[in-house]
Subunit: 287 residues, 2 copies
């Protein structure tokens, strides 16, 4: 179902962006805007309208769990190369929602304590509870992306992880969590521009690390690692979406649409009162 | 210093709202708008302008810690009776800031595990790290508020807690955390209206609990418990501010102003690059 508040979608965002076993990133144009028939200006207007609808859904989702015992939750997994715009999604899409209903987890290089556990340990601790929208800014997928490219674990261990991830995500889904996995897909030219921008602006210098260029030199290896990870972990319970992200406005709009469509599916309802409304009105009036 | 982006303040919000040992809540009009010379419409405009400035400060605060090793952090402690508008502050003041820089902790009735520890245990785990804005929606103060009113602990233990809180907060402050403690001050008439509203609107029924009226019947005890807590824990390192909150627009504006003035004091700076900018430009261009 097309997100109603975003008027310029001509197709379901999920159908337009879904990938699977046969994904070829090279065949997806990072400048394209699949399913959307508007320009940047219209996209911004739709993002604004969609934010209100997303906020409304979030409040219902929360209320349905809090007051009605519903177990639905949403987990957005954000992956992408450096400068692909993960932070912008968090700020502009998630940031428009009441922070009381959002659990945001940014996964950086694991600590010593985290390394002493299975790779899913730190992730398990941050999954959203019922009624909440969880966001992973990077995730357990790093363990099969940089893990694979940088050979941080033996090959058999990397192989084992794809299966462990599938089982982990299927368990979450069975518990009521809708998982939306997004790879923000940018071109290497776009990344160069963004990194140059960070080097040119004193207020952006802190965002640049010399290691960014080291990682950039392994671009093709990372693209391949993404293709393998997507192929091995695309399931009906936890599908992957590749979102072209050279146009930031589109990427934000598309992720918002994926969330809206997911929440439309859940269709959370205001829970009924579990007390006697008229009796409470009388008690209150007497105070 | 008056928050520059909020044009209608005629006095520093901190000076206008600061209370101390001799606080008398009965002498503070919940409908008043101390220090502010605008109406609701102007207040909304100022809140909008202030949000942009707050977002800018938050990013600098974060960058200064991330890239420059600064240890400054901010902790906003929100207290107030039911329906005093804590949730609205989180949504409309904190919600305007990039969620990546905010640590929000809502403290509800303690769990069994939490009760098995000292009352500060669960709070200590949620204090903001360097560069972050922490928000406590309710806090360790519940342990000397409902704790006192409902006699959940012996009198000596309640007495001990005031001192423990002072020491805890002084330690945080010594580590670089600016603590801003806010009591949202409403009238009992205002609360009745808000609770009535929750009983009248089906989309608000889930927010109402019959226990809200039970607590309401202890209004005067709670006011007294607040006065004692404020008197016993007002320190230069962790001052208390009483914010009149019958006018929601003013309460939001005032809390934003308190944060802006605190961040103006910190005056966080973009950190200098810790790498050779020209060398990195050359490396990047070669990729």
């Amino acid at each position: 179902m097309v997100a109603m508040s975003q008027r310029r979608w001509i197709a379901d965002a999920r159908a337009s962006l879904l990938v699977g076993e046969d994904v070829r990133l090279g065949d997806i144009d990072p400048e394209s805007t699949p399913g959307y028939d508007g320009n940047k200006r219209e996209g911004r207007r739709d993002l604004f309208a969609g934010a209100e609808q997303l906020g409304d859904y979030q409040e219902r989702l929360y209320a349905a769990a809090e007051g009605g015992g519903a177990e639905d939750a949403v987990l957005l997994v954000l992956q992408g190369m450096d400068t692909s715009g993960k932070g912008g999604i968090v700020r502009h899409v998630i940031g428009a929602v009441d922070p009381q209903g959002v659990d945001l987890a940014a996964f950086k290089a694991p600590t010593e304590e985290e390394l002493a556990h299975d790779f899913l340990w730190r992730v398990e601790r941050r999954v959203p509870g019922a009624g909440r929208i969880g966001v992973f800014d990077r995730s357990h997928y790093e363990d099969v992306l940089i893990g694979r490219v940088r050979r941080l674990a033996p090959e058999e261990e990397i192989e084992r992880r794809y299966g462990a991830i599938r089982e982990f995500e299927e368990r979450l889904a069975a518990g009521g969590t809708r998982i939306v996995k997004v790879m923000l897909h940018i071109s290497p030219e776009h990344q160069r521009e963004r990194l140059q921008n960070r080097l040119e602006r004193p207020d952006k210098h802190w965002k640049y690390h010399p290691s960014d260029v080291d990682e950039r030199l392994l671009w093709d290896d990372y693209q391949r690692a993404y293709e393998v990870a997507i192929a091995r972990t695309s399931t009906p319970a936890a599908p992957w979406f590749v979102v072209p992200a050279d146009r930031r406005w589109y990427a934000r709009l598309a992720v918002q649409a994926l969330l809206l469509e997911t929440l439309e599916d859940i269709d959370p309802q205001w829970p009924a009162a579990d007390y006697d409304i008229e009796a409470e009105k009388a008690r209150l009036a007497a105070t």
